[in-house]
């Protein structure tokens, strides 16, 4: 495409003045007269039978309007749905009631709901509800949950095994038997809490007169939520409007259909009044999905020269107590298909066991499956390098898929669109000044100081699509995206996108795209999203897909609009459409540039319709549903440099270099921001964040006093650079940048720390690399 002045420009995010001055329209900001407040009483036990619930005291309290138990809602709400039904895996669905009826299965499971005049009364009433439990033994660890004799969450799901997914490509046993080097390790990719800045919430307003339900809620995919709400409430889609205009972050945690939003909708319908439910931070910690939680047994077969010949993985994925909406797809497809990473590994053998435990359900969390695959590979390749005495940069270089082999079909059946992996490695080595660093490392070791250099050369799958693939993988939906471009008589443009940015900045980048395509001023383009009454059916924002898929839909719609505008202009200028050129927002006759019309003049004529031929409809707008032919595959090289204090185990970050290739870049400032945020999150998994349960299923890190979200002072300064390898998959050549940082950074950090500790003979420590864990490892080796 023609790269004009807005594509590639670091324009400040136009949504920020609104968002950072308290003028956003987040769910809790919406006020409707007559609203009642809803609060949820949650189970304090990880596993228990509900013997009796006494709500009489709560009902009698002044200001309490209604109290519901699970039984009261059975006829009003279908179970919480699971919508990723992975095939050929013996998948067993979990009966997941929005409010538990007979049994609770994790700390945080809903047991009763209070509706009151204000939130304080609601909280008092929650405490006044008396629930008698018969406490059952709980199981938290997914490996233990599969053992015989383990507590059973469901009578109908033996051994708590929800599914067993297999991907066996090539003959691994043969490769393994003839391998010159064999390495086997157990790796833990621990559990995380997504912790979006805005917790979840809903304001459900059912109008008994019209029979319509309007629900403002924290959603990454409003149409998907409308569809699911229709399924669980029985209201037709045409009577449900979901609005999620401003959403304060999601990281995947606002994709699923949850109990809270469903209950608010059902109760609003029951009482005929608006119901607001906003979760507290503690509720967010226990009752919004968690991410990761994989135990992986990995076998790597290689030759002595460092060439990896095969990877075998047996992974135990902790699904939590119920299968959340997209959960089964995350540790399977989004993990297993990426197990070759950036390397030409011919044989991949993967078994994933999805295990139910008495913990908060897990689902997609920024990266979703890909960080688990990338961490595994990047960790193992470092262990292999050390085993062979090779430099970690060189062993990667040796195994890279060479740039002349793109498009590259992976053994797992993906087609990597485009890439030049070595270029990112070379650039990162240059930026970090690798040879100097290695020299310094050796010198400092002589002084008893331990710095480490860690690599991560990743590739990830983005722009989640296409719909055919989604269907083959059992995803109960398409993975296209929609856009409507409406040009008004004045030439100003409203864009309705099915993407639903919740921090990604698409109100800016999409306006850049449209302004370029139509040659109109940036200020004349309005982006509308997040309201099912306004935008066409859309699939939403996740999997780094907004720009690569939603943006492509937008460009395609713009091109339809432009094509029609050109036909109108041609008619009015009395030439054939192909005789017109279009530049800087103006159609003109080729060879006679004075004869022309601006885009705005054409728009006016399209609406006046005084002079339109019969075969051109009045008006100027177009809709496009874009279903890409393939995913996109961003890649890059991250290098982290740390110093470890062996006396305390504390890690200090000295340098962080990220060289990413996300294809063409529409707004480098926004991409930099995505990369920064992603690195912060992934680095935090490596050393700070940890959702810790005790053996009874109590979440010990259920507040930000215990769950360590990184602050700016806990992070290094990031050196961010890019190479540009456009994708052929969409007209803009963009790949997506939402998850690269999270996927790449975790292994880069861990590899750096382990490299620093090499003199102590330490080869691996499971995450998070807290000071105590490092101190213990050092002490063990030193004694």
């Amino acid at each position: 495409m023609a790269v004009t002045k807005l594509f590639g420009a670091a324009i400040k995010r136009r949504e920020d003045p609104r968002l950072i001055t308290g003028r956003g329209n987040f769910t809790d900001h919406i006020r409707l007269p007559g609203t009642l407040v809803m609060a949820i009483k949650r189970s304090p036990h990880a596993h228990a039978r509900i013997v009796r619930i006494d709500t009489s005291k709560a009902r009698a309290m002044r200001g309490v309007v209604a109290v519901y138990t699970g039984q009261d809602l059975v006829d009003k709400l279908a179970p919480v749905p699971c919508a990723w039904l992975i095939p050929d895996s013996d998948l067993k669905l979990t009966p997941y009631r929005a409010v538990a009826v007979d049994k609770v299965r994790y700390v945080g499971d809903a047991v009763a709901v209070v509706v009151a005049e204000d939130r304080y009364v609601a909280q008092d009433a929650i405490e006044a509800i008396d629930v008698e439990y018969e406490v059952l033994p709980a199981v938290v660890d997914q490996e233990k949950a599969m053992e015989s004799g383990a507590p059973q969450l469901y009578d109908e799901i033996p051994n708590n095994l929800a599914f067993h997914w297999k991907l066996h490509i090539g003959d691994f046993d043969a490769i393994w038997n003839e391998a010159e080097v064999r390495l086997s390790r157990r790796l833990i990719n621990h559990r995380l809490i997504p912790t979006a800045m805005e917790p979840r919430g809903a304001l459900a307003a059912y109008n008994p007169g019209s029979g319509e339900l309007t629900i403002w809620c924290t959603s990454q995919n409003p149409h998907v939520h409308r569809l699911l709400l229709s399924a669980v409430t029985g209201l037709p889609e045409t009577r449900i409007r979901v609005i999620a205009t401003d959403v304060g972050g999601g990281f995947g945690s606002k994709i699923p259909m949850y109990a809270g939003e469903m209950i608010a909708a059902a109760i609003s319908r029951d009482l005929g009044r608006p119901i607001k439910w906003i979760e507290t931070r503690q509720e967010n910690c226990v009752a919004t999905i968690h991410g990761r939680d994989h135990i992986q047994y990995v076998d790597i077969a290689a030759r002595r020269d460092g060439t990896i010949t095969g990877v075998r993985v047996r992974a135990y994925a902790n699904m939590g107590a119920y299968l959340s909406t997209a959960a089964p797809g995350v540790p399977t497809w989004l993990f297993g298909l990426m197990l070759q990473g950036a390397y030409a590994i011919p044989v991949i053998h993967c078994d994933v066991y999805g295990v139910l435990t008495n913990t908060t359900p897990t689902d997609a969390y920024r990266g979703a499956g890909r960080p688990e695959a990338t961490y595994l590979l990047e960790r193992m390749i470092d262990i292999l390098a050390r085993e062979l005495g090779m430099d970690p940069a060189e062993i990667r270089r040796k195994n890279f898929i060479p740039k002349d082999r793109f498009p590259y079909t992976t053994p797992t059946g993906l087609q990597y669109d485009s890439g030049d992996y070595e270029a990112t490695l070379n650039r990162a080595l240059e930026l970090v000044d690798y040879s100097t660093l290695r020299r310094q490392q050796a010198e400092l070791r002589q002084q008893g100081r331990y710095i480490g250099i860690g690599f991560s050369t990743y590739v990830e799958v983005c722009g989640l699509a296409p719909s055919q693939a989604a269907g083959a993988m059992g995803f109960q939906g398409g993975l296209w995206e929609s856009a409507t471009v409406r040009v008004h008589p004045t030439g100003k443009v409203t864009v309705f996108t099915g993407s639903n940015p919740h921090g990604q900045g698409e109100e800016t980048t999409f306006a850049q795209l449209v302004a370029d395509e139509l040659g109109v001023p940036f200020e004349d383009v309005e982006i509308v999203h997040g309201d099912t009454e306004m935008v066409p059916f859309g699939m939403g924002t996740y999997g780094s897909r907004s720009t690569a898929v939603g943006g492509a839909a937008l460009v395609a719609a713009c091109r339809k609009v432009k094509e029609k505008a050109q036909r109108i202009a041609a008619h009015l200028l009395e030439v054939a459409p192909e005789d017109l050129a279009f530049e800087n927002g103006r159609f003109f006759v080729k060879g006679a540039p004075d004869r022309g019309m601006t885009f705005q003049e054409v728009a006016l004529q399209a609406y006046l319709a005084w002079k339109l031929p019969r075969d051109i409809e009045p008006g100027l707008e177009a809709t496009h549903f874009w279903d890409p032919v393939n995913n996109t595959f961003p890649f890059g090289c991250h290098i982290c440099v740390v110093e470890v204090d062996p006396e305390t185990g504390k890690v200090d970050f000295l340098k962080y270099v990220a060289v990413d290739d996300v294809g063409n870049v529409i707004n480098p400032m926004i991409v930099d921001g995505q990369v920064h945020g992603g690195i912060a999150q992934g680095l935090a998994q490596a050393v700070y964040e940890y959702a810790a349960y005790d053996a009874n299923g109590q979440l010990l890190s259920a507040s930000l006093m215990d769950y360590a979200i990184p602050k700016a002072s806990m992070l290094p300064v990031f050196t961010v650079d890019r190479t540009v390898t456009p994708t052929p998959v969409n007209p803009m050549g963009v790949k997506g940048a939402g998850e690269t940082g999270t996927i790449a950074s975790t292994p880069a950090v861990v590899n750096a720390v382990i490299d620093a500790l090499a003199p102590f003979g330490i080869e691996h420590i499971d995450m998070p690399l807290t000071p105590e864990r490092i101190w213990r490892a050092v002490r063990e080796r030193s004694s």
Partner: protein
């Protein structure tokens, strides 16, 4: 995030606050509120009444009292940090306050609130122990002075009686050739001290340790002095080896906290390391 119902009183004077305390035996005093309000929001504390003493004029302020510096109990962290007098005479206070919470906490939080709350992981308890401060309390029976050594008695528990109000903290001015340091290992989630060590070292003209006090916070249920470390150093040349040897005694006879971030064993280790680091820095400073 939604506290239980409570009555709010604003006291205009210490006497009025004392009277309200007698009338409302279940009441809590409110100063900066940065520990109490979060606890109430989580319903970990549900006092029937709050008595706000943050606007009692005689409880706030910093004054030079000859050989001592006296700081009113409701003096806010930020005011202490900005005080030129404190910066010159007791630079450890700004150093320690610098690592307390964030800007908002330091704008609102008070020195007396922190000490009376006696959070096991608060920073200032270690500092007042090391400085040998005295804490003045007023109750229905009048005033009394409590040495810092006797102030912290257990988890969230001080020597204050329920009907007493902490009014001021009085610090002796350190003699010449004194170096002071506070070294903290912060919890990455909360920012509180996993272990914090404060050391005050005075060197004699011969360069040997004439006096030394060490306070430790975060490690155990309440902040403690480490006399065994002090005794091992007094009269010694403060060499790295001497400091190292003395610091090994820092964890003796203590009970240690344990949580998901740091076990008791690790806290014991950190106590030795951070006492060493605080002593090392204090000695460097004492030498000028």
């Amino acid at each position: 995030m939604y506290p239980s119902t409570f009555t709010y009183y604003r006291a205009g004077s210490v006497q009025e606050a004392l009277k309200l305390l007698v009338e409302n035996p279940d009441a809590k005093l409110l100063a900066g509120g940065h520990s109490l309000i979060p606890a109430m929001k989580l319903r970990l504390a549900s006092p029937s009444a709050l008595i706000d003493i943050s606007r009692v004029p005689e409880l706030a302020g910093i004054r030079d009292a000859g050989d001592r510096i006296v700081i009113g109990a409701t003096t806010r962290y930020d005011d202490i940090q900005r005080s030129e007098l404190v910066r010159q005479v007791l630079p450890i206070l700004p150093e320690a306050i610098d690592v307390i919470g964030d800007l908002q906490v330091r704008n609102m939080g008070t020195i007396g609130g922190s000490l009376a709350h006696a959070d096991p992981a608060a920073d200032l308890p270690a500092v007042v122990l090391a400085l040998g401060a005295e804490l003045k309390a007023v109750g229905p029976d009048g005033e009394r002075t409590i040495p810092a050594d006797q102030f912290f008695v257990d988890l969230f528990t001080t020597a204050l009686q329920p009907n007493e109000i902490l009014t001021e903290i009085s610090f002796p001015k350190p003699p010449a050739r004194t170096g002071i340091s506070y070294q903290k290992f912060a919890n990455p989630a909360s920012g509180y001290a996993v272990v914090g060590a404060a050391a005050v070292v005075t060197l004699g003209e011969d360069g040997k340790v004439a006096a030394v006090r060490v306070g430790v916070t975060g490690a155990g249920p309440y902040a403690v002095r480490r006399q065994s470390v002090e005794q091992a150093l007094v009269g010694q040349e403060p060499t790295a080896a001497a400091i190292e040897a003395a610091s090994q005694l820092a964890s003796e006879g203590m009970t240690f906290n344990s949580d998901i971030f740091a076990s008791d064993e690790y806290r014991a280790h950190l106590t030795r390391v951070f006492v060493k680091r605080a002593l090392t820095r204090a000695v460097e400073r004492a030498r000028g």
